[in-house]
């Protein structure tokens, strides 16, 4: 590889800006969708009691629902339920 002056390098660096953070995060959470992330968020939005249980002890609330408290799922759920956490 040759022929890069610094102006050209600068142009090529600028040619790859980061994708919007929300897009990246949504794509990263795809596997969690299979674990029911969206359903849990929707239920927490509609059911205040369930939401309070999640906020009080997220892992215990998931286990009480028969859902394995996968750490990535728990972290994503906390993020989606902000600012309560």
């Amino acid at each position: 590889m040759s022929g890069y002056d610094e102006t050209r390098l600068a142009e090529l660096l600028a040619a790859l800006p980061p994708a919007p953070a929300a897009w990246v995060r949504a794509a990263q959470e795809l596997p969690l969708a299979r674990l029911g992330l969206d359903d849990l968020v929707r239920r927490a939005e509609e059911d205040a009691v369930f939401r309070r249980r999640l906020i009080a002890d997220l892992e215990a609330a998931l286990q009480a629902e028969g859902i394995e408290a996968d750490p990535a799922l728990a972290e994503a759920l906390r993020r989606r339920l902000e600012p309560d956490f």
């Binding site: 590889m1 610094e6 390098l9 660096l13 800006p17 980061p18 969690l32 990535a72």
Partner: protein, 200 residues
């Protein structure tokens, strides 16, 4: 067609330009085995590439670009086990993104001939993106402080003041640091002599 996309939202810096310690193939293998962290890293690694194809090469609107972006990674996740070679994830994602971009443009203009659907300079744009990928990959071989300052200034369009505040360095020294880091990157790309790390 809507106007250009807004400047991308800021994301955590260290997750975007950290040195690539896993090969593409190992990331694919780990993600296929259900390792969430590997999938997250895979998305991070290729997100700029997919975004650039949607945004720069095919000039999709923000809404369409987001749909294609998500569809690309949804299909990739679903079909990871069908990849012929784990090393071929980038060209596979590139081809998938291009196909979905064309589908999206075709849906928007069903009566338009195919040759008029694609932007006229799409091949040049794709070649430029591939060249930019090579430069970004070379960033892995420059010192972390160079990687960080070059990414902040050129990719994220941050001001000297912002960079200085974030990195805790005098803003008056940033231009010279950028210049030295660009020189280092250029030497790496040209395969020539390398400057000692402490000199940049």
């Amino acid at each position: 067609m809507e106007g250009p996309l807004p400047r991308p939202a800021q994301v955590r810096f260290d997750s975007c330009v950290s040195s690539q310690t896993s090969t593409d193939a190992s990331l694919v293998r780990r993600a296929r085995n259900g390792e969430q962290a590997a999938w997250a890293e895979l998305v991070e690694r290729f997100s700029r590439y997919v975004y650039a194809i949607c945004h720069q090469a095919y000039r999709l609107s923000q809404h369409d670009a987001e749909d294609v972006f998500q569809e690309v990674f949804a299909r990739a996740y679903q079909h990871l086990d069908k990849l012929r070679s784990d090393d071929a994830i980038r060209p596979w994602l590139g081809q998938l993104t291009r196909r979905l971009c064309i589908d999206r443009l075709r849906e928007a203009s069903r009566e338009t001939p195919m040759e008029e659907i694609e932007p006229p300079d799409v091949d040049e744009s794709l070649a430029r993106i591939d060249e930019a990928i090579a430069v970004h990959e070379a960033l892995d071989d420059v010192p972390q402080h160079c990687r960080e300052i070059l990414d902040r200034f050129f990719c994220r369009d941050e001001s000297y003041t912002t960079i200085g505040n974030e990195l805790g360095i005098p803003s008056g020294t940033i231009a010279s640091r950028i210049s030295r880091c660009l020189k280092r990157l250029r030497e790496l790309l040209e395969g020539g002599k390398k400057m000692p790390a402490e000199s940049v």
